[in-house]
Symmetry: C2
Subunit: 371 residues, 2 copies
């Protein structure tokens, strides 16, 4: 019989991690409201204090290995006429997402922008409402996905993990994520699911959809006991948060496969080290995840079909060289290799050795190398 | 007890539609090979004849209500030195996809390009290999998805349809497509699945992911007994073929919801009338599918938040006016309304009346109107 890990039984009475998180977010929203009421009842001008997200207050933190906000704070106060508008917008947005959370509904950034009109809240454009949602993330210290505002784009997952839903209408229902071999979409339902049972012992994130399908067809989930994630290019934040959760709650190592070019590298790097845009948030990155290729040196070692780097590619490589998130031996070595080689390759380039080569030869060699 | 339609029992001995299609494609490939062998054994120059795809041979057909190829044919012959290269490429591609089909594997356009190198077949670039695959589609009269070459992009589905897989490793396994409320990816496994049982009585295709999720949360699948499809912008061909199959095999009407702009209209139109690029293929479009909005007139009637049309939008509307696929009363009326109004709206714009409005008010009104 296969070894499997029971992550959580359904009989436990302690609230699940998802329930805990939901109640933390709701109480953060309640605190925000109480703070404003209390200020008003003391005849103070209502105001909200939050860390500054200005570029000079974003620092790379060696300890957590990601960008974080520094010591500077800003205060939005109704006393200041220029603050009245963003403060009101922030408070409305808080009440809107509180309603979403209570009703178990989700929304998108676009929906929030339009919904505001139902309340006669005025946002000049979506950029303004997006910015206010980022403010709310900063105040609540939770990503917007935790208060039910999801991005439009979504990626997919496949593998031997049984989840248990918490979303309305599906409470307690279980599904094994290997049930559908085209992959399951990663959306609000999956993001809010509990992990019930997992037979995989690693996570492999893949940039390209074609390779994701190839990995399923070649039974990578089985041969290498892997959960497969299709990032669909730059991984959406909900997917990055899911990778982190799976890595931590299930104790699984994470490997990331992307194209061999600066853009592919950055897809891997953002999963590992996070983005500067999300410096106000924790729990979106997976510092121990490993970039597993395709490396510049693989282009040479495997004699892969390749294309010349464009000027834009080269400019991007010089930027990455100065980026603190790339300050490790492997990244530095490969950036230099790209600049020397002046060529790039795609994941599919391994098909020159037959469709199964990447799974039968390249993957095991790389997994062994990374330990 | 709910009424449900048993589409096919698993006990029947007659080959399923999917098996039938697979065997038709394989025998078309075999015929192609036999034809070449027979020519060679008669000491004739090997050659392949196919309908011309040149723009002057593409006609709009009122009967099938889509673009089709006319009477002109081209012949690729080894006798002509300029034909040797594309003929050889065509024959190699045929043998490659024959291998794919026999092994039950799938591939992408990108993979085919790289795989050629394993066989020392030379393609200058992917455009050249893509073009040869279109030749093969024309010769075989089947879309590339039927011979296992899939696009990278994929959309998603959700609703009360139980499918039965035919792909390797999943043969005979069943899954209800309402099992995962974020949606199931539409890829090779779903495309090749049989429809086992369906409780829905209509299909609703939706352009935007946010609205797809909204429809699931608001239980459109339940309230309106609908299968929901997220086209993710322009619907991939595999998704268009799936919509047609579901419409025909399950006898369900199809409604398409997109943004109120010329690009949204065209997403709907291509599902209904097909694209000129696919004039060499049948069975990708659903002539009886209905464009269900968002109409230009809805912008006025529902007082939707809107943006001005850009010059590009207006240019596009004039193009659509001349397009034979838009030669019906509804399309003409709405193109004129757009040009008069000079404004566009998004599906999410209905959120100004609350998140549930589009489902509780707009959708039933439109479905009633379309009958």
């Amino acid at each position: 019989m296969k070894k499997s890990k029971k992550v959580k039984t359904t009989k436990t009475k302690t609230p699940s991690r998802v329930e805990q998180k939901k109640s933390v977010v709701l109480s953060a929203l309640r605190s925000l409201g109480e703070q404003l009421y209390s200020q008003l009842s003391k005849k103070q001008w209502p105001s909200v204090r939050m860390p500054s997200r200005s570029i000079t207050n974003i620092h790379y933190d060696q300890h957590t290995r990601q960008y974080i906000l520094g010591e500077r704070f800003v205060r939005r106060s109704a006393r200041n006429i220029r603050h009245i508008r963003p403060l009101t917008q922030l408070v409305w947005t808080g009440s809107f997402v509180d309603e979403l959370a209570r009703e178990g509904k989700t929304s998108t950034l676009r929906d929030v922008f339009y919904s505001a009109q139902a309340y006669e809240m005025s946002f000049t454009d979506q950029a303004e409402s997006d910015d206010i949602i980022t403010d709310l993330e900063t105040v609540l210290e939770h990503p917007r996905e935790d208060f039910n505002v999801f991005p439009e784009e979504r990626s997919a997952i496949f593998g031997d993990l049984t989840i248990q839903y918490t979303v309305r209408g599906y409470e307690g229902r279980k599904l094994n994520l290997a049930s559908h071999p085209d992959g399951m979409m990663i959306g609000p339902a999956l993001t809010n699911a509990e992990f019930a049972e997992c037979k995989a012992d690693k996570i492999i994130a893949i940039e390209k959809g074609g390779l994701f399908t190839r990995f399923i067809e070649e039974r990578v989930h089985d041969k290498y006991k892997a959960l497969l994630i299709h990032t669909a290019g730059q991984a959406p934040r909900a997917t990055r948060a899911l990778i982190r959760r799976m890595s931590q709650e299930l104790g699984l190592p994470v490997y990331i496969f992307c194209d061999a070019d600066p853009w592919g590298m950055h897809i891997a790097n953002v999963i590992i080290a996070g983005s500067a845009n999300a410096a106000h948030l924790r729990e979106l990155n997976t510092p121990d995840a490993k970039w597993a290729g395709v490396y510049a040196s693989d282009i040479v070692d495997y004699k892969l079909p390749s294309d010349p780097l464009t000027d834009l590619d080269i400019k991007r490589l010089y930027e990455l060289q100065k980026d603190p998130r790339y300050d490790t031996k492997l990244w530095k070595r490969e950036i230099e290799a790209f600049l020397r080689l002046k060529r790039k390759s795609e994941q599919e380039a391994f098909s020159r050795y037959g469709l199964a080569f990447i799974v039968d030869k390249y993957l095991p060699a790389r997994l062994k190398e990374l330990g």
